[in-house]
């Protein structure tokens, strides 16, 4: 039943602004196909019968045997880095709890020149929208994948680990879809470099204001089109619901409309001759005249340019924002079930410090709060599941992997549904066990393909060099004679003691059951260990 194929997109207001047309959308799969394609399917029908286990009674839920308490410093390392790595932990131990935390809270004091050198070829990260458009409008794949790849590289290799962890948090809090309108990539580098990173450990009100006036957000939530005579409330709704007060934070539909009026006129510089083309700009003639009433407070008509900042000031100082952000940060750094007393404490700190992120983190990450952050769930504490990005990065970090090319790790994140910056909706990738806890097969597959690549690639995993000598050294493994106790050493030195006792035993049994045990079997065992439930939490 043939139907005519639609013509390409209609010329739109947007395209009228793009002198050379709309760029094509980069495609991860196509890019991989050009490299030789994604890995072939693994074992086709390995064990149709193993399913039996589900009926054996082993499935009865019960608390796993575990030690509910661990060294607070170990917990801190798990929480403020993108994954446990033994030498980092040893460094933290040498510094001590408070000094290590303070070091990470002052990223500018940490020498990260090796990271900078690694990103030296990622030249598009520093380009303006105009430079990106002029250089890459015909083939935006390069800046697009550099941006995604840099996020992965920084998570794995940067020494400013807490900074990276907070940058990831803010990118979800102020989520922007890399693919919007096929041109959002023009704004992303600006946004990351000029808006998110400078404020990631700074003042939340200043971050909120920076994002509100950011070209990337103005485009993503359509405020660039919000003008007198044509109110566009997409951004104002999400500002209140997702960025500040929270959906039950006490605003009304009228507030949504009034906030939208305050933001009229904040648009993009549309003068292609300007080096600031597609950067933010205020167009006074497009601003709705008159006083506005937001959350019960009058915002005077003049000066129009300041109306937006007046909204930011009101919502940033609102107790609902303090509570909403406190809860979300505790979830991110400690536990999915934040204790109310701690939420209250962090919220009051927010109000007392005018939203100083470092002050909030000091409260949340205080040594005594590490008891809320056991990987296995201390009594009445829910453990935190690694999101897929954290799972992939953690495994790469603990193996001391040198990621020369991030494209294949990005492919595996694609199979896991967690490619950086690809969440379409403005709520950010979810951060719950309910959301991520059922998709386990792609995790097992990444661990196996990374560590037993011969089965898939017939060669080392492309673009990633595992530090084999260092791994063997960490594990005290020189040969088959070192099998005894190997699972326990893996747990301590590679998995950051996340495996439960039962899991260590099962892993050791697997190791002992192998007829021969060389390097191949060693890495298969590590892959299995990383596939066990303990390593999915942290």
């Amino acid at each position: 039943m043939p139907h005519p194929t639609l013509p390409s997109r209609t010329p739109s207001r947007l395209e009228a602004l793009l002198p050379r047309g709309r760029p094509p959308r980069p495609d991860l799969r196509r890019r991989l196909d050009a490299l030789g394609g994604p890995p072939p399917a693994p074992v086709r029908r390995p064990l149709a019968l193993l399913g039996r286990l589900a009926g054996t009674g082993l499935g009865a839920p019960a608390a796993p045997a575990r030690a509910p308490h661990r060294d607070p410093l170990l917990t801190l390392v798990h929480r403020i880095t993108q994954g446990f790595e033994r030498t980092e932990y040893e460094r933290a131990r040498a510094l001590g709890y408070d000094a290590y935390l303070e070091e990470q809270l002052a990223p500018e004091s940490i020498d990260d020149s090796a990271m900078d050198a690694r990103l030296a070829g990622y030249t598009t990260l520093a380009l303006s929208p105009k430079q990106l458009y002029e250089a890459y409008f015909a083939d935006p794949g390069e800046p697009y994948f550099q941006f995604k790849g840099a996020a992965l590289l920084r998570a794995v290799h940067s020494r400013r680990q807490l900074q990276e962890r907070m940058v990831e948090f803010w990118w979800d809090h102020f989520c922007i879809d890399h693919n919007k309108g096929d041109i959002e990539f023009l704004f992303m580098a600006d946004h990351d470099r000029l808006k998110v990173r400078p404020h990631a450990l700074g003042s939340f009100p200043e971050l909120l204001s920076a994002v509100a006036h950011s070209n990337a957000m103005l485009f993503y939530l359509d405020n660039w089109l919000n003008v007198a005579g044509g109110i566009q409330e997409n951004y104002s709704r999400e500002l209140l619901e997702l960025h500040s007060l929270g959906v039950h934070g006490g605003y009304s539909e009228v507030d949504v409309k009034e906030v939208a009026k305050c933001f009229t006129g904040w648009t993009l510089n549309q003068d292609f001759a300007s080096p600031n083309w597609f950067r933010q700009r205020f167009e006074a003639s497009a601003h709705v005249a008159g006083d506005k009433l937001v959350l019960g407070q009058v915002i005077p008509a003049l000066p129009p340019r300041d109306n937006a900042q007046a909204v930011i000031d009101i919502v940033a100082a609102h107790p609902s924002t303090a509570a909403f952000l406190a809860r979300k940060l505790i979830r991110w750094l400690l536990t999915p079930t934040p204790p109310q007393a701690l939420v209250d404490q962090v919220a009051s700190t927010y109000l007392a410090t005018n939203g100083d992120v470092k002050a909030l983190l000091r409260v949340i990450l205080a040594r005594e709060n590490m008891r809320w952050a056991s990987p296995l769930g201390a009594p009445r504490v829910a453990p935190r599941l690694r999101r897929p990005f954290h799972f992939v990065v953690s495994l790469l970090r603990t193996l001391g992997a040198d990621v020369a090319d991030p494209i294949y790790p990005l492919f595996y994140l694609y199979t896991l549904g967690h490619v950086p910056f690809d969440h379409v909706q403005p709520d950010g990738y979810p951060d719950t066990t309910a959301a991520w806890g059922s998709a386990l097969l792609p995790r097992w597959r990444f661990a196996s393909d990374l560590l037993a690549p011969a089965a898939v690639f017939g060669e080392p995993f492309p673009g990633v060099h595992v530090a084999h000598d260092a791994v063997r050294d960490k594990l005290g493994f020189a040969g088959p004679a070192d099998r005894p106790g190997l699972a326990g050493r893996m747990n301590e030195h590679l998995f950051g003691s996340t495996l439960a006792e039962l899991e260590v035993g099962v892993l050791q049994d697997y190791i002992d059951a192998q007829p021969t045990f060389g390097g191949v079997q060693l890495y298969e065992s590590i892959a299995l260990g990383a596939s066990l439930p303990g390593f999915q939490w942290y």
Binding site: H3, A41, T56, G57, A60, D222, D427
Partner: protein, 417 residues
């Protein structure tokens, strides 16, 4: 999770027996791959839910061209009445399909596609994320309501006795939708064809046994999901998704939605005992540049309607083996905005496809579009979406007690099934 058959947490199987005894496990398999087809009764179609995330504009997709007020609210965006090439494809003299949705005429004309308009969840929220939860949990009163899981989850619970497979529901994507929140024997499967156990075949049984033994004690969703995953690999691995040849000349679009509906059709034909498949489609939140004829909305509609048409044609000989519902969290405001888009609204159109559906009609108590008719500027809701779903569940899936699915809802017949 699969319900433990004996409830004993202290199984007689030791850890070592698990690791060394894959042959024993194989011999006692309870769920051999692909034996469920015969067990699935003829009266139990697979429920397919296609959820359009971001608020699909039902006034574009199913345009009420017979209501002149529409053209006053939407002077530039409204799809014109039937006639010109860019006009609506007429359905019944009052409603018509946007031209980009024309492929839906195929099942509509054959009487297998029903459309319900001015339909939705009666809650007043205009937040996507709030609306997802309320609609998919099936309770407009949330967060004050009485339910804490999805409406499809409760459907699975109500039909537990008829389950024939350890894999009862699939979320065709990376993350399960709220409608499957809390469901057991349910997995997200982003790509049906690559749902395979990794690594070397020689060690696979031992590795899988280690995974099973260690995940088993973990609480839901993770522990049960791991066991369900191991149980389900054989089910999907037994189907040649890549080689699936669509019937009746069906041509699926080369999109994620097209691939997922194609794989779903292959799954339905294989008769695996999977009872539910959900598919999400993002991108409908078009506050700017709606593009009803050749723009953003048209591209989305083109993909959606081609995929649905192909699914329908592919399964023409299996009409009674599925029922597909397609819905969105709410509609969009009646009046267009100055960015050539529309903001969040209320009432919307909804689709039901399959055998046993009273198709070929638009079911609507049309509330009208004059200023006085609107609900805060939005299309009013005259049909509760739970009445549509409830009727489908009762008439097609054999659910007798609808109050177990949608508590405290008083059902009103719609006539869709």
């Amino acid at each position: 999770m699969s319900t433990p058959s004996n409830g004993a947490s202290g199984s007689g199987l030791s850890r070592r027996a698990l690791l060394g005894g894959s042959a024993t496990l194989a011999a006692t398999s309870l769920w051999p791959a692909r034996t469920a087809a015969a067990a699935r009764g003829p009266g139990r179609p697979v429920l397919v839910q296609v959820f359009l995330r971001g608020a699909m504009d039902g006034l574009t997709t199913v345009v009420p061209h017979g209501d002149g007020d529409l053209y006053a609210w939407r002077p530039t965006l409204a799809v014109q009445p039937p006639g010109p090439p860019q006009g609506a494809r007429d359905l019944d003299g009052f409603f018509g399909l946007a031209p980009a949705a024309a492929p839906l005429l195929t099942p509509y004309a054959a009487g297998h596609l029903a459309i319900v308009h001015a339909c939705g969840s009666t809650d007043p929220t205009r937040s996507h994320f709030d609306a997802f939860v309320r609609m998919e949990f099936g309770d407009p009163l949330l967060p004050l309501g009485t339910v804490d899981n999805g409406w499809i989850t409760r459907t699975l619970q109500a039909t537990q006795a008829q389950a024939t497979s350890p894999l009862r529901a699939i979320g065709a994507g990376d993350i399960l939708p709220h409608s499957l929140a809390g469901a057991t024997s349910t997995l997200p499967v982003p790509d049906f064809a690559s749902f395979l156990f990794p690594g070397k075949p020689q060690t696979a049984p031992q590795r899988a046994a280690a995974i099973a033994a260690t995940y088993a004690p973990r609480p839901a969703p993770v522990g049960p999901a791991a066991l369900d995953t191991l149980s389900s690999i054989g089910i999907l691995a037994g189907i040649d998704f890549a080689g699936h040849a669509p019937a009746n000349g069906a041509q699926y679009p080369a999109s994620v939605l097209g691939r997922r509906l194609r794989d779903t059709a292959a799954l339905i034909k294989a008769g695996t005992g999977v009872e539910v498949v959900t598919v999400d489609v993002d991108g409908w939140d078009l506050h700017a540049e709606l593009g009803p004829i050749t723009g953003n909305m048209a591209l989305l509609l083109d993909d959606l309607s081609r995929a649905l048409e192909a699914f329908y044609l592919d399964l023409l000989a299996h009409l009674d083996d599925y029922v597909l519902v397609c819905l969105s969290e709410f509609g969009r405001r009646v009046e267009e905005n100055a960015s050539a888009g529309t903001d969040h609204g209320h009432g919307n159109a909804m689709f039901v496809l399959g055998g046993g559906i009273h198709g070929g009609q638009v079911l609507a108590q049309w509330p009208g579009l004059s200023a006085a008719d609107l609900d805060n500027g939005d299309l009013a809701i005259t049909t509760d979406y739970r009445d549509v779903l409830g009727e489908v569940l009762r008439e097609r899936l054999g659910v007798t007690d609808l109050t177990a699915i949608f508590p405290q809802h008083v059902f009103v017949p719609v006539g869709v099934a």
